[in-house]
Subunit: 307 residues, 2 copies
C-alpha cells in the first residue's frame, strides 16, 4: 500500500528535492504539505501547522521534516505523537541528547524514524564503501571547503551558539567519511578558528585517531574558499581513492569510475520506504557526535571578524 | 571464584579508595598493581606496565583503571586485548567516539566493561532516585561549586583543550542528575565563562529541557566558590528534595533522611563483581554527552585571566 506522506516545511530543498523524489517513487503519494505561509506544491492540500493537518482527518502515514534545524525536533515530537513515521533532514537536532530523545520517542510510538544524511546517498558512496571494505587504511584527508558568502548569504543563525559554523556543511563530509570507512573514527585534537565577532568556527582542522586509523589522518574545513571543494582522499593498500563533489564522483588510482548520476533523494526515499515497510529505524548519530567531540576537545583560536 | 584484579595507576584515589574497597570485598583479591614508578600497596606484586604484567604470566581476571584521564583509553584497549574485565574511573575518555570505541572493544573481547561514575554510589543516591521514580518534576537546580585552587592546585591539564574545565567536577553532578531523574535531560542553552588565558570554562550555566523537564530547570557550575557546594534541588508534586554533599546526604521537605554513610567505592565494587559474574557491561555515556552538548551549544564568554 502506498505511504501517504506530508512534507513539513516547504522551502527550496523540499521543492527541488523532496517533491520530485516522492512523486517518482510508487511507494509514496504526497498527501499534504505544512508551512506557516501555506506554501506547497500545486494541487496538494496545504496546512499551516501539524496540529491543523492532524485535525483535518486526512489520512497520513509519514512525514518528511524539511523545516529549519531549529524547528525540527519539536515537529518530530509532534509527528511521532501523532503516530506517523518520520524522515528527518540532517542534522536531527542541535544536541545529541535531543536526537536521542527523538529516537526514544519513535521507539515508544512504534514507528519508523529515519535520521537521514543525504550525502550518503550520493551516487559514488556505495562504490567507495565497497572498495574500502576490509582494507587497511594508509592515509586519510577530508578536505571540505566552500564559500560561505555564496552558500549561506546573510544567514546569521549559523554563527550563533549551536549554529555549527563551518560544521554545518562539514557534517556532510563527516557523514560520508563515517559511512565509507571500514573502521571507526575519533578526534584526538581539533583547532577551531572562530571569528572575533561570532560564536562558531569559520575554519577547523581535526586530527583523527582510533584503531585502524593511520597517523596523520586529518580533516580541513574552510568557509573562505572561493572554489568549492568537497573531497575525501584515502590511501589503502597501495591504492588511492578520491571521493569528490560531496559523494557524487569517484576516482581509483586517478581513474574516474562509472557510478551513475542519480540524485541523492530518490535512493534516500527508497531507503525510507524500506524502513517504513519493515517498521525499522535508522538513527546513526556518529556525524553529530564527531562535531560535538570537536567542540568538546577543540582549541579555540580567534581570527579576524567576519561580516 | 574470587576475581584476581590488578590496579592500574597507583595514585591517591587508588590508595585511599580502590585498595580498601577491593580488600573488603570477598569477590576480589588484589593480585597486582601497575605504575611507572612501581608504586603499589605493600606485599602486592608491582609492574611498570600492562605489558610487563601480561608477560609475567600472573593470572589476572580484571583491572581497575585509576590512572589519569589522558592515559585511560590506551590502557583500556590494552587490558581488553589481554582479555581482562575493565573497571574505569570517570570519565571513560575525552571524547564520546573514543568511549564508544572502548565499549566496542569490550563487546568484541566478550568481557565486562564498567565505565563507572563514582558519585552514583553515594549513600543518598538510590533513595533520591526511588523518591523521584514516576513523579512529575516541578523544579530543578543543580548547583555545583568549589574552589579550584583548593581541589586542583597547579593542575594545568584541566585548562587545556579537552581538559573539561569546571565540567571536570561538574560531570559528577551530571552523573548524579541523569541517574536520579525519572526523565531524560537535554541542554537547550549554555553559557561558558572562559578565562582569557585558558581554553576551558571556569564557570557555566546550563538550561535544561526535554519531555518532563520543567521550564527554568538549570545548572550552575562555578570554580571560584570558597565554600564547596555540590547540591541538587528538585521540586516534585508538592515536595522538595535536596541531594547534597555530592550524593551523600538527602533531605525531603527539609527533613534529613537516614541514608547510611558507606563510602562510594565498596558498592561500586559490588556492582563491578555483579557485572563480571554475569558477563555484562555498564557503559552509560549520558554524563559525557551532556558535557559535549554544552560545549557544542554553549555561548563562549571571555572572563578575566585566571592564574
Amino acid at each position: 500500500m502506498s505511504i501517504a506522506i506530508a512534507i513539513i516545511g516547504y522551502g527550496k530543498i523540499a521543492e527541488d528535492q523532496h517533491v520530485p523524489a516522492i512523486r517518482a517513487n510508487p511507494d509514496f503519494h504526497l498527501a499534504a504539505s505544512v508551512s506557516r505561509r501555506l506554501a506547497g506544491p500545486p494541487g496538494v492540500p496545504a496546512f499551516a501547522s501539524i496540529a491543523d493537518l492532524s485535525a483535518s482527518g486526512l489520512p497520513i502515514d509519514a512525514v518528511a521534516l524539511c523545516n529549519t534545524p531549529t524547528e525540527r525536533p519539536a515537529t518530530a515530537f509532534e509527528a511521532l505523537a501523532a503516530g506517523w513515521h518520520v524522515l528527518m533532514e540532517k542534522p536531527p537536532a542541535a544536541t545529541l541528547a535531543v536526537a536521542e530523545q527523538i529516537a526514544a520517542a519513535a521507539r515508544a510510538a512504534g514507528v519508523s524514524l529515519f535520521a537521514s544524511w543525504h550525502c550518503r546517498f550520493g551516487p559514488a558512496v556505495a562504490a567507495a564503501k565497497a572498495l574500502l571494505s576490509g582494507r587497511r587504511i594508509d592515509s586519510l584527508l577530508i578536505d571540505w571547503r566552500e564559500d560561505v558568502r555564496k552558500w549561506h548569504p546573510g544567514q546569521q543563525w549559523i554563527w550563533q551558539p549551536g549554529g555549527f559554523g563551518v560544521f554545518d556543511p562539514g557534517i556532510n563530509g563527516l557523514s560520508l567519511l563515517s559511512e565509507i570507512l571500514p573502521v571507526e573514527l575519533a578526534i584526538s585534537a581539533a583547532r577551531l578558528e572562530t571569528p572575533a565577532n561570532h560564536q562558531t568556527p569559520i575554519a577547523a582542522r581535526l586530527d583523527f585517531s582510533g584503531p585502524g586509523i593511520p597517523a596523520n589522518a586529518h580533516g580541513l574545513f574552510d568557509w573562505l574558499e572561493p572554489d568549492d571543494r568537497w573531497n575525501i582522499h584515502i590511501g589503502f593498500e597501495g591504492h588511492t581513492l578520491l571521493l569528490s563533489h560531496g559523494g557524487s564522483r569517484l576516482t581509483l588510482d586517478e581513474v574516474p569510475q562509472e557510478v551513475g548520476n542519480e540524485g541523492e533523494y530518490p535512493p534516500l526515499y527508497r531507503r525510507f520506504a524500506e524502513l517504513v515497510n519493515h517498521r525499522e529505524s535508522e538513527v546513526d548519530l556518529r556525524p553529530l557526535q564527531l562535531v560535538a567531540d570537536a567542540f568538546l576537545l577543540g582549541e579555540r583560536v580567534t581570527v579576524p571578524a567576519f561580516e
